[in-house]
């Protein structure tokens, strides 16, 4: 269609041109792309006129022009080239892709050219995502992609989501996660891993109030806008098949555990444990001989298989995107299949009339995970593999260390480990599976009332059904322990149904005056309704090796269930004024009414204003080297409404007395309870130099969160309760830098580098009565006015007393003492949050090959290394294996001060616990990591044409291939310390305690388009 239209246009234009001018000559030539391939439908226009032609299918054109005329050759996505008509009648032009082509950014109000924006928005496109080492969850893929967006994987568990902190820590007790909006509908952050990353067209991160205030009470932590792929009109169906296989392995420790001989030696030195009790050389040899590597025994190499199929296309009135995919990840823990997810998506738009478009986005995801216990004991394989002694064995062995087999010839699990319970029995006999079924969908009508006025109405639903099954197998080791050696078995099934639906209505009015004053008004309303139900049921008594549905259970045990709801109704208006592409003004107001807020604070108003000045579009601006220069400033408010559905109410709940319902107070609330308020302001400058080969931006932000949700204790005499109030305040500020440079652009070998850096600072400025505050998520940290949020609060270690080997500490007055008790103090400037983080990447392309590498780094954060406290436990628990450095302890005569304290031993018992929590185990978390490395090859078109393919790409990728962490012993990317210890509230990176390890991944993939 387009070609036909262009042809007619060409003819017409040619005709017009011919009759208009007499002394013209005919110029002809070919327009080609950077690879030398012809560019059909490229436009050739005589500058200063409307006369022009299009190239034909072979890129050829013919145009009449006078000598001295300037011809502009342009094509979408390529830089326009100008040529002056000289003596030659032939002008061949090769167009180069226009890297500086104004990026399209998705905002709350739709797509915008970057130079039309007034706010700080980071954009990640589908192509960007492809360059990132593959992950099943998009939030993980955002790491290092945008300045000011700190992404920390929760842990290495397959399918796990990430902690995202946009411009700092916004809250203490309410959530810190951003608002996720997927195709216009709000989505819980935990659902994000239900979206297939290959379905995503674009992710925008809205960082400042100017862009988030339109989300009012929900936008305070920033907004992540996810747009899924849609078909394009008049583009024939294209199918894509992508397949990837990967092998994963736990990242190698940067420390060494003792082997059997070393551990026995250590025990003998201390006169404790098995080693001390060995009577004969033969016994010793037998144990040394075993030399079990427990990481080998409990971990495995993981295998990931990912396959995706999609079809995308469109005709005149309809376009579509369809995909189906499956991801399977075995994980790295033996006996457990970690992850399996199937996704499907259908997005369709239909131009039913020229004035109305009907569309839908439908996503489906079904996910199953098998989880190991993430707790701080030997039920957790990660703790077990470091604790178990190398002179013990997984399977029962005889006196000659030969395997003992049972009657069926199977190996027998060794249940007599010194650390107690054998974790393999847990993994096989106490299994937990989680099942998530999610449907994300919306349907919309988009009316074009006049060319200036449009109206869109959209209904969206997000539904999750979650089920967890925990089965304690009858006859398993734990079952026999808890049921007095009688095989019983028990099953817990619990789950939830979570439905959010929303209705969004938007009226948009566009107008302009002489194309100089461009104005857009948006008015919209939004209604959100969430309904959540949960249930649990437990049964006891199952047949050995038999089925495990609750119907089989001999006795019912316990039931539970709950339900909650919330609603939000909002009205918002936005105006966008663009003066001649030079000055842009944007203002937003939003009024939110929420069922979560107190009776007196049902409604809140949010506003923002921002402006941008495109200096480069000014007539007076005439610096050749600077192609882009724009200044931005913004200020505004937004809120955080993650306060619990009924927190504002005083409630009475039920328990039972003698089998009858008893009414008791459940919660005390204040009718004045409202959202946490963010006021932020920021300024930014964006620039492009040397034909936009060098592009960058600098942003400064200052974000004050006031009315922080804190619990205020009331006098015991009134009943000993606490009431949540808006009582605290905190300031986050930072500087963000982004820079990308095309070092080689117009050559066959292309090379670009880019990077971003984020400098960050935080201060708590107000707390209840300005008292120190420990929240449920503070284990080794505290909140104090004037300090950084979650600053460490522990005893300061003063090294080893060279005279007697005692561990020494500073007391609160700064004196040295051997008694660590009660000397905890706040460590100013030491918190789990990085002062600086960022990433840099480089991309090389040569012919069909491309190579990209992406590094992530952070510095300035501290991690409490609880694992090291256990691995260097100073003889306090002789039965757990130790790191090799444990040998480096003080002995009489030691003069070297760089030693560990004198350990508890058969002959020595220190006055105070030497292995107590102190800064001895607090380590800087600085690291740099090669997050991804990818080598790809696109088969040239001459081959793909022969195969009747549109494109074929093969690639090999590596994830987390190299890490440098100078201070921290262990993997420095710490999110969750211990999943079950920190249930509900986590200060990411506060301490490490045997959560699922990070893996390094090697992948090979192939993408075929046809």
């Amino acid at each position: 269609m387009k070609t036909k239209f262009s042809g007619i246009l060409t003819l017409l234009l040619a005709f017009v041109v011919q009759i208009s001018f007499a002394q013209e000559k005919t110029i002809s030539g070919t327009v080609s792309d950077e690879m030398g391939l012809p560019l059909p439908t490229a436009t050739v226009i005589i500058k200063g006129t409307t006369s022009g032609v299009s190239t034909d299918f072979d890129g050829n054109y013919t145009i009449k022009a006078k000598t001295g005329d300037v011809l502009n050759f342009s094509y979408v996505g390529y830089a326009t080239v100008s040529r002056t008509v000289g003596t030659s009648n032939t002008i061949n032009v090769s167009l180069q892709p226009d890297n500086a082509l104004e990026e399209v950014v998705i905002t709350a109000l739709g797509a915008r050219q970057k130079d039309e924006l007034t706010s700080a928005v980071s954009n990640v496109s589908a192509e960007d995502l492809e360059k990132i080492a593959p992950s099943v969850s998009i939030d993980n893929m955002l790491q290092g992609q945008a300045a000011g967006v700190q992404v920390t994987a929760q842990n290495g568990k397959p399918g796990q989501t990430a902690f995202i902190r946009i411009r700092g820590i916004g809250s203490i007790n309410a959530g810190n996660e951003p608002l996720y909006i997927v195709d216009g509908a709000q989505m819980d952050e935990s659902f994000v891993n239900g979206i297939n990353p290959s379905d995503i067209e674009n992710i925008s991160v809205l960082k400042d109030a100017a862009s988030t205030s339109i989300y009012g009470a929900r936008g305070g932590n920033g907004v992540v806008l996810v747009t899924t792929k849609r078909g394009k009109v008049n583009k024939g169906a294209q199918f894509q098949l992508s397949s990837r296989v990967s092998s994963t392995r736990k990242i190698k420790d940067n420390f060494e555990m003792m082997d059997a001989a070393q551990k026995l030696q250590y025990e003998r030195e201390l006169g404790l444990g098995t080693g001390a009790g060995l009577a004969t050389q033969a016994d010793y040899n037998r144990l040394v001989d075993r030399n079990t590597d427990w990481q080998d025994e409990l971990l495995k190499d993981g295998f990931i298989q990912s396959i995706n199929f999609s079809a995308v296309g469109g005709e005149e009135k309809i376009n579509y995107f369809f995909s189906v995919g499956n991801d399977e990840d075995s994980g790295i823990i033996q006996d457990i299949d970690a992850y399996n997810r199937t996704t499907a998506r259908l997005n369709v738009d239909y131009q039913a009339k020229d004035w109305v478009k009907i569309g839908t986005s439908l996503g489906f995801s079904s996910m199953k995970t098998g989880d190991p216990r993430d707790r701080n004991n030997a039920q957790n394989p990660i703790r077990a593999m470091y604790d178990y002694n190398p002179y013990e064995t997984k399977w029962v062995v005889d006196g000659d260390n030969n395997l003992v087999l049972d009657a069926n010839g199977n190996k027998i699990l060794n249940e007599n480990l010194l650390a107690g319970y054998p974790v393999t029995a847990e993994l096989t006999g106490n299994t937990t599976d989680r099942f998530y079924t999610r449907i994300f969908g919306n349907g919309f009508l988009d009316f074009t009332l006049t060319d200036k006025l449009s109206f869109k109405t959209q209904v969206s639903g997000v539904y999750e059904r979650y089920r967890r099954e925990n089965f304690l197998h009858p006859g398993s080791v734990l079952d026999l322990i808890v049921n007095s050696q009688i095989p019983t078995g028990s099953k817990i099934e619990n789950g939830s149904f979570d439905l959010t639906y929303s209705w969004l209505n938007k009226v948009t009015y566009n107008t302009d005056i002489n194309d100089i004053h461009r104005l857009q008004f948006n008015v919209f309303s939004e209604y959100v309704n969430n309904d959540f139900r949960s249930y649990s049921a437990t049964g006891k008594g199952f047949p050995l090796g038999g089925p495990s549905t609750l119907n089989v259970a001999a006795t019912p045990d316990a039931v539970g269930g709950s339900r909650s709801q919330y609603t939000l109704f909002s009205l918002a208006a936005n105006v966008d004024y663009n003066y001649d592409g030079r000055y842009i003004l944007n203002a937003t107001v939003r009024r939110d009414g929420s069922s979560r807020f107190g009776e007196n604070t049902k409604y809140g108003n949010f506003y923002s204003g921002s402006l941008a000045w495109n200096v480069d579009n000014e007539d007076f601006f005439n610096v050749d080297a600077i192609n882009t220069l724009r200044l931005r400033a913004s200020a505004g408010t937004s809120g955080n409404d993650q306060i619990g559905n009924y927190s504002a109410q005083t409630l009475y709940g039920f328990n039972a007395y003698n089998g009858n319902n008893a009414l008791v107070p459940a919660q005390y609330g204040s009718a004045d309870l409202g959202w946490e308020q963010n006021f932020s302001y920021g300024v930014g400058v964006e620039f492009g130099l040397f034909e936009n080969r060098v592009r960058g931006l600098v942003d400064y932000y200052n974000r004050t969160t006031s009315d922080l949700l804190l619990s205020q204790r009331y006098s015991y005499t009134l009943g000993g309760f606490s009431i949540l109030g808006n009582l605290g305040e905190m300031v986050n500020k930072g500087l963000e830098f982004e820079l990308s440079v095309d070092i080689l652009r117009d050559t066959e070998l292309k090379w670009s580098v880019n990077g971003n850096v984020n400098l960050y600072d935080n201060e708590v400025t107000k707390l209840v009565n300005d008292e120190d505050l420990f929240t449920a998520s503070n284990f080794y940290t505290i909140l104090r006015v004037g300090e950084e949020v979650d600053s460490y609060y522990i005893t300061e270690y003063a090294g080893v007393n060279p005279a007697n080997g005692e561990a020494l500490y500073y007391d609160t007055e700064g004196n040295i003492t051997n008694n660590p008790n009660g000397n905890e103090k706040l460590l100013s400037g030491k918190s789990p949050y990085a002062k600086l983080d960022g990433s840099f990447a480089t991309n090389l392309a040569y012919k069909g090959f491309d190579l990209s590498a992406n590094f992530y780094f952070k510095t300035g954060n501290y991690i409490y290394n609880l694992m090291e406290q256990n691995m260097l436990n100073d003889g306090t628990d002789i039965n757990s294996n130790q790191r090799v450095e444990a040998f480096n302890y003080w002995t009489p005569g030691t003069t070297n001060s760089d030693v560990l304290p004198r350990p508890t031993s058969a002959s020595y018992s220190p006055d105070f616990d030497t292995n107590t929590a102190s800064t001895r185990f607090l380590q800087k978390g600085d690291y740099i990591r090669l997050r991804s490395l990818q080598l790809g090859y696109n088969l040239p078109s001459k081959f793909t044409d022969k195969l009747s393919l549109d494109a074929l790409r093969v690639y090999a990728a590596g994830n987390n291939l190299w890490t440098y962490a100078p201070h921290y012993k262990g993997d420095p990317e710490v999110g969750i310390g211990s999943g079950e210890t920190q249930e509900g509230s986590v200060t990411p990176g506060e301490f490490s305690l045997y959560s699922y390890p990070t893996t390094r991944t090697l992948s090979f993939g192939i993408d075929v388009k046809f």
Binding site: R713, T717, L718, E771
Partner: protein, 476 residues
């Protein structure tokens, strides 16, 4: 063009479609305070709530039934335990080591009683409503009584006790009210007595798992005794229509197979509250009973061979190869599977008879030694397999009553208050923790009479938020 009109109307309608009603959401598992008390049934349920709040481990469930024994002379610290309440046992009280949780929970009962009383006019006056009101008043009085005896002086403790610092007597459920100041011991006792006397005239049906007439009269006899109003104490005791648990039924009282002599108990079931009353004393593990505290060796020897209480209250058994005299009073239930999940006996007839005996044996206008001896013998005759009255008079009679009280009410949360109100000091035997009295003796054997530590400190957490609160001397 019409369709544009329709669409426009639709658009405008859609934009403003939501109404405010949708923004008022009430929870599904609980009710708002304005909807909580709207019917007699709701009041009944709220009244039951008083008892479940009282069963909380920080109140009667664990604390009230253990710490008055832990900080006095009935128990010896066992090093094999988990070290719970050790600082209390050693009288290391300060603003952070005090019974803050107990204070909070006792006042939570007060607040809940006030919530019922403040709203009582939501339903018309009926005998059922009177009974509800009586329960709320009595539970409010009982909690104030327990609080003031812990943090303030007891009236008979010394000459200045009545006018010394009391505790706030709270009579409103308003959560935003200005927290009260301490007032005097006399004032809080007046409040307690007033509430109990009012309740006595309102109380209805007899049911020992709720406040009932006998319970109120029994509690009054205790309160008047503590207050030093001996005639009233004896009279209140006389108003109780029950008898002391018989020798035969006595062991069954403790595993809840018998209610003989129980005037008021908190019903503690696995499926409801499920609190292990025994937790502060011991836990039973595969290798035996692991005690936190064991029976003081002197007290153990005070239980004679013919005393039914010896076998009922004490279990001598081995843990880690050593014999201990474990507290067995709260260990076994005939109803619940949960270990230590037993009903909490708040007041029993035996105590009422001992209250009466003491009140009548004290020198003064109410003194009637014969009646006192009769009351004492009513208890003693049901505790010894072969009982012959000692026929004591004078000081020996008072001593015999005190001894019997210690023996009868041991490990039930009385001992500290009984020593305190007599104005005496705490004197521990100094014996070791093993069954034969050997082992590690405590370094903390004596808290002299008149020591300011008899009044526990007001918690720092309370001092921080209540500007009207005043700290006890000793802890400033």
């Amino acid at each position: 063009m019409k369709k544009y009109l329709y669409i426009s109307i639709f658009a405008i309608g859609a934009l403003f479609s939501s109404c405010d009603d949708n923004l008022d959401k009430t929870p599904f598992s609980s009710v708002g305070e304005n909807d909580a008390l709207t019917s007699e049934i709701a009041f009944e349920n709220a009244t039951l709530g008083l008892y479940t709040l009282a069963i909380s481990p920080s109140y009667y469930g664990e604390e009230m039934m253990s710490f008055p024994d832990v900080i006095s002379d009935n128990l010896i610290f066992s090093a094999e335990g988990r070290g719970t309440q050790k600082a209390y046992h050693e009288w290391q009280f300060n603003e952070n080591i005090t019974k803050g949780g107990f204070m909070a929970q006792a006042y939570a009962v007060v607040r809940h009683a006030n919530f019922i009383l403040d709203n009582i006019d939501n339903i018309p006056q009926t005998p059922a409503r009177d009974h509800i009101q009586a329960q709320a008043l009595a539970m409010r009085a009982l909690s104030h009584f327990n609080i003031t005896n812990t943090f303030s002086k007891i009236p008979t403790q010394d000459a200045g006790a009545l006018s010394s610092l009391g505790m706030p007597y709270v009579t409103s459920s308003d959560i935003l009210q200005e927290p009260g100041s301490r007032g005097t011991v006399e004032a809080i006792y007046n409040g307690i007595i007033n509430d109990l006397e009012t309740a006595k005239n309102l109380v209805g049906a007899d049911d020992i798992i709720k406040i009932n007439k006998n319970a109120i009269n029994g509690l009054l006899s205790r309160v008047y005794l503590y207050r030093g109003m001996y005639a009233e104490a004896a009279a209140a005791a006389d108003d109780v229509t029950a008898s002391v648990a018989t020798f035969g039924n006595f062991p069954g009282v403790w595993d809840d197979s018998s209610d003989d002599g129980v005037l008021f108990k908190l019903k503690n079931l696995d499926a409801d509250t499920g609190v292990s009353v025994n937790t502060p004393y011991s836990q039973t593990v595969s290798s035996g009973v692991r005690s936190e505290y064991v029976v003081d060796f002197d007290l153990f020897n005070l239980y004679g061979g013919t005393d039914i209480r010896k076998a009922t209250y004490v279990e001598t058994s081995a843990y880690n190869g050593k014999n201990y005299n474990h507290v067995a009073k709260h260990m076994e239930s005939s109803i619940n599977l949960g270990s230590g999940v037993v009903d909490i006996k708040v007041i029993r007839m035996a105590e009422v008879m001992l209250n009466k005996a003491e009140a009548l044996a004290m020198p003064g206008p109410a003194q009637d030694e014969a009646a006192a001896l009769a009351a004492l013998d009513a208890v003693r005759s049901q505790r010894y397999s072969s009982f012959v009255s000692g026929n004591e008079t004078g000081q020996p009679l008072l001593d015999a009553i005190a001894l019997e009280r210690r023996l009868e009410l041991a490990f039930e949360g009385h001992r500290f208050y009984d020593i305190k109100r007599s104005g005496e000091g705490i004197n521990r035997s100094g014996a070791g923790q093993y069954a034969d009295g050997t082992g590690l003796a405590t370094l903390f054997t004596t808290l002299p009479a008149g020591d300011c530590k008899f009044q526990l400190p007001i918690p720092k957490t309370e001092m921080d938020v209540n500007p009207n609160m005043e700290q006890n001397p000793c802890y400033n």
